[in-house]
């Protein structure tokens, strides 16, 4: 039951963090030049309506004002807004008043989730073997190659890699893989590769370090002394025990992957959360902007929570 207590404690923490995130973003946008919800964005979006039906226009504007409590003091506005967000009542976007934020997100959020999880899975599948090879062939050219490549993967941001891949598969290897769009399974390959590059590097480096350390420990020596063969020793005793350390790395790394998705989506023209965010931020669509920040934040924190739970289940030494 310790785990239930731990999970509930963490969920409370997550909710407090989210409340802080929403309030901080609200306050910052409130004091941004032009002012939060100064209704001018709405007014421009609804300008045609004003001409056609002034009464309806007035009604919509009033509804808008009362929804966000624009005539209340700031702290009450914030409380009101936080409550709306936490109950998933996101309201409508300002740019596109006829479109609810919920419907936009329902379409786009799964895309980003697929990209992020696909990249995490790919980076573990590729990074772990690379790390093992580097650790076993320590200080040989294989090790240096793996280290350098993984460092390069970490250094080159996803958006630079994305344009390079578009160029490669658009010109040199034309027609092998689609370079833009979203819908078929093979259109996800290049974006996921882009997002994974950095993670592969991190996973490989950690795997290498952790495996080297594990192979030095006493129980490996005991296994050797008992006459366990090389590969079973490495795989069963070494790798299995190093993997637990790996899992802790994946959590924080996920945050960067999620940020990477919003860049990569720009370049591959994928209709994900990143595109929604970009329109929200560049057109000062505050409700949509704060909601997307809120969702990204909760995605990252839920992922971290999952990692912690998995870690506790796998590693019996961890006490929650």
């Amino acid at each position: 039951m310790a785990i239930l207590k731990f999970i509930s404690k963490r969920i409370v923490q997550i909710i407090i963090t989210l409340i802080l995130v929403i309030s901080v973003s609200y306050i910052m946008m409130y004091f941004s030049p032009g002012g939060f919800m100064n209704t001018s964005t709405m007014a421009t979006a609804l300008a045609p309506l004003q001409g056609q039906n002034p009464v309806l226009y007035q009604e919509v504007m009033e509804q808008f004002q009362s929804r966000y409590g624009l005539n209340l003091p700031l702290y009450q506005q914030i409380l009101k807004y936080v409550w709306h967000e936490l109950t998933f009542d996101f309201g409508n976007s300002m740019q596109n008043p006829s479109l609810s934020i919920m419907s936009q997100l329902q379409r786009t959020l799964p895309v980003s989730v697929i990209l992020a999880f696909g990249s995490i899975i790919l980076s573990v599948v590729v990074g772990v073997p690379l790390g093992i090879i580097a650790a076993l062939k320590r200080n040989t050219w294989v090790d240096y190659l793996v280290s350098t490549v993984s460092l390069a993967g970490q250094a080159i941001p996803a958006f630079v890699l994305a344009v390079i891949l578009v160029l490669l598969f658009g010109v040199v290897f034309q027609g092998i893989l689609p370079i833009t769009g979203w819908g078929r399974w093979d259109e996800a390959i290049l974006p996921i590769i882009c997002l994974s590059a950095a993670n592969v590097g991190v996973v490989a480096r950690y795997m290498r370090g952790s495996l080297i350390e594990t192979l030095r420990s006493d129980f490996i020596r005991t296994a050797k002394a008992k006459g366990v063969k090389y590969w079973p020793m490495v795989m069963k005793h070494g790798v299995k025990n190093s993997l637990t350390a790996m899992i802790t790395v994946i959590g924080p790394q996920f945050a960067f992957t999620v940020m990477g998705t919003i860049w990569v989506e720009q370049i591959f023209a994928i209709p994900g959360l990143g595109q929604v965010m970009q329109t929200a931020f560049t057109s000062f669509d505050f409700p949509l902007a704060i909601t997307s920040v809120f969702l990204l934040g909760s995605m990252i924190m839920v992922m971290n929570l999952m990692v912690d739970i998995i870690y506790a289940i796998i590693d019996p030494r961890v006490k929650l």
Binding site: S25, M28, L151, A155, I156, F256, Q266, F281, A289, V293
Partner: protein
């Protein structure tokens, strides 16, 4: 008698100087062993020089386009080609280096200063201040700084100073945590305890015992900070929230090149290539510094 005292004194001074110099000398020797780090350092120096002297060596003005030479491939006149309004790419890149360096260094310093102040405060004061600051650090660390940067850009605008602040302010948490942990580990170390027992003043302990041991880790943290900030600047531009387009920046160029990449791929080669090489170089240098100067070193 007097002369012998003076002699021994000067000898001690000489010895001290030698020891002090050799600390850095040995670090430099260790650094030189990493070939990639040295290559990276050379590139970083070239990059910084290009940023400093850029406006004087740029062959064309980055603002005025040559409308008779739109989307040209690299030639002798335009060695990196021209973009879709005839801007010389080479000059644009020189100016981008300048803007990227100004913002990256400024932002890293902002994060560093906030981090040092809060980290020292938390480490030396302890108690409730420590608890509040560390809670704030946890809060900042759970979410990527880029999210906060986006929101700050909305609030502050898209000029140089606002971008420095937007990228710098959210980045303090890592530095604060590092400095707090260094202070804590140092405060209770035997070395400091011994110095205190000998009657050394607080300032003397800080200067002679804490600073030399901390400076390596701080330098490494700063070296890792700059490429991270470079990525964030470019990321903001990709998002359409970076420097206002007439001012050239790597992110803008990469985003623009991405739009018509199949027709005019050279618009991508140079900005993306130089940007990637620069990031790699900074990272190699940081890696080399870590292994040469940080007491714990890498794996």
């Amino acid at each position: 008698m007097a002369s012998t005292v003076a002699e021994t004194h000067s000898e001690v001074v000489l010895k001290k100087k030698k020891v002090r110099r050799s600390e850095f000398y040995q670090g430099w020797k260790r650094f030189k062993k990493h070939r990639l780090a040295v290559i990276g350092l050379v590139w970083v120096v070239i990059f910084c020089l290009a940023g400093i002297i850029g406006p004087w060596v740029a062959p064309h003005d980055y603002r005025t386009g040559d409308f008779l030479a739109i989307n040209q491939a690299p030639s002798w006149k335009y060695i990196f080609g021209t973009d879709n309004v005839g801007h010389d790419m080479f000059s644009q890149i020189l100016y981008s280096i300048r803007s990227a360096l100004i913002i990256a260094i400024g932002a890293t310093l902002v994060s560093f200063i906030i981090g040092v102040i809060l980290g020292l405060w938390a480490g030396l004061r302890g108690g409730i201040a420590d608890m509040i600051i560390m809670r704030a650090v946890d809060f900042m660390m759970t979410l990527p700084g880029f999210l906060f940067a986006l929101i700050l850009v909305i609030m502050l605008g898209r000029g140089y100073l606002s971008l420095i602040l937007a990228i710098g302010i959210p980045g303090w948490a890592g530095y604060a945590r590092l400095i707090r942990s260094l202070v804590l580990s140092m405060r209770d170390s035997e070395m400091v305890e011994a110095a205190r027992a000998l009657g050394a003043s607080q300032a003397h302990i800080a200067r002679r015992y804490m600073l030399p041991n901390v400076i390596g880790s701080m330098g490494v943290a700063l070296a890792f900070g700059i490429p991270g900030d470079l990525i964030q600047i470019a990321g903001l531009s990709i998002f359409g929230m970076g420097l206002q387009p007439p001012i050239p920046s790597f992110g803008n160029m990469i985003a623009q090149a991405g739009e018509n990449i199949l027709g005019f791929p050279w618009l991508l080669y140079f900005p993306a290539g130089i940007f990637a090489i620069t990031l790699l170089s900074f990272l190699f240098v940081a890696d080399g510094l870590q292994e040469a100067f940080s007491p714990k070193g890498g794996n």
